[in-house]
């Protein structure tokens, strides 16, 4: 059965690109347009194996979203990859403290994304 990945990003085109990369590798993909929508999608989904989240988003940013996810008993063990244009070390430290497992800078290379996803899904 295909592993399910939740993509949280306010850019529709970026979500489509991540979805294209992951679905070609056999992953099922759920999309959310910001952190708030991400929590709603998690609530609705039967099982999510990994989250790929942007940092800068309207309504709820990625680091706040991860913080919320890690407080939910049902979802706190889901690994999270931050996928963002941000490259500030302070933000990276915040994401790590919030519970994210990896940081990938945009533009991403599909093989690199797949390698990171594969590592964390199997972990």
């Amino acid at each position: 059965m295909a592993k399910t990945v939740l993509i949280v990003d306010d850019s529709m085109s970026l979500r489509a690109l991540v979805k294209l990369s992951l679905s070609r590798a056999g992953y099922a993909v759920i999309e959310a347009s910001d952190g708030k929508d991400g929590l709603a999608q998690l609530d609705k989904a039967a099982k999510v194996h990994l989250i790929v989240s942007d940092v800068n988003m309207p309504n709820m940013d990625g680091i706040t979203f991860v913080t919320h996810v890690k407080q939910l008993a049902r979802h706190k063990f889901i690994p999270v990859i931050m996928l963002t244009t941000e490259d500030e070390s302070a933000k990276i430290a915040q994401a790590k403290a919030a519970g994210a497992r990896a940081w990938l800078t945009k533009p991403f290379n599909p093989p690199q994304l797949l390698e990171a996803v594969g590592k964390l899904v199997l972990a």
Binding site: M12, S13, L17, L20, R24, D87, E88, P107, P111
Partner: protein
Amino acid sequence: MTNQPRWLVATLPAVSIACAGLPLFHRIGILEMMAVFGVAVASIWAGVRSARAAAPSAAVRARQAIDADAPLLARHIDKLPPLLRGILPVWRDHVESIRSQTDTAVGDLVVNFSSITEQFEAAGFKGTADSSANAQDTTISLLTLCERELQPVIAAMSRITDSKGALAASVHELSVITGELQTMASEVAGIAAQTNLLAINAAIEAARVGEAGRGFAVIAKEIRSLSQSSAKTANYITGRMAQIMTIMKSTSEAATQAAASDKIAIKLSGTVVDDVLSHVRVLSVEAQTMLGQGNVIRSNIEALIVSLQFQDRVSQVIGVVDKDMARLRDTINGDEALPSADQWLADLQSHYTMKEQRRSHGTSAGGRAAASSAAPAAALFF
């Protein structure tokens, strides 16, 4: 009031760059808009890169502009706030329209592209990073299987035909020996006939001798009886041998015919097997060609996925400019004291997320060496 020209002049270049092409988008389609937008962004990046070494920072440019345009600004300064109140919302709407339309258009483009790649993969053009690809393995396995399994079958069939040939030869040899036995039986019949004749003569001679030949007459009679019995048995053997000869002949003919038919069938099977192997070899070559083309397509898809992410980066830049225009509007409408150009720019800079933005602002420590920041970087694991 004295600060107003400084922050206005500092902000306007950034806003004007973002909005320079806006009127175009009312008259053209999404794809053309994307193309124009892409060219514009690329031109801006290229211009920024080439001019970076010599060009002063945004803050320095702002100050230079203030100094140069101070007399002009002094004449129009009272008209600027109402003007900006009127046009800023329109500019923001246009900027948001660009951001949203390009995002939707690139998203649609990716969805359509995704469908095309799925069709390519369904047609067999599925590349893989692994050289021992499944598709290639399958074809090569099929070829190996055909060569390994079919060739021995043909060899086994040939051996069976050879065995049948040997059987036919043995039957023929048996037929020859049976013929010899039939001849011998005929000779035995001849000997019996001569013995019978001899017994008759012996009986005649015994009768001529009279009483003294009576015993010999009994012996002659027994010999005659035996010769008749031998003749009868020899005739019986000859008859059965003739039957055996007939059966042997038909068996030999059938075996010879079967061996000939088998040879034809095996030759035909060999030709079919060679044809199948030849087709499988062609399929193998085609599969490898398709795998190679699939890898090219796969590589192009990956490059395209990286390239199309320009939209996300452009969107980030536009988002910051849009927020800054909103701040400009709120500042004009507000009652608080206006910030200095340096304060405004410092606040603007705090919203940057990418090296390109910091470089454009002119304060990036990376300078020209950071030009490769838009290339994919390795993942950082915690």
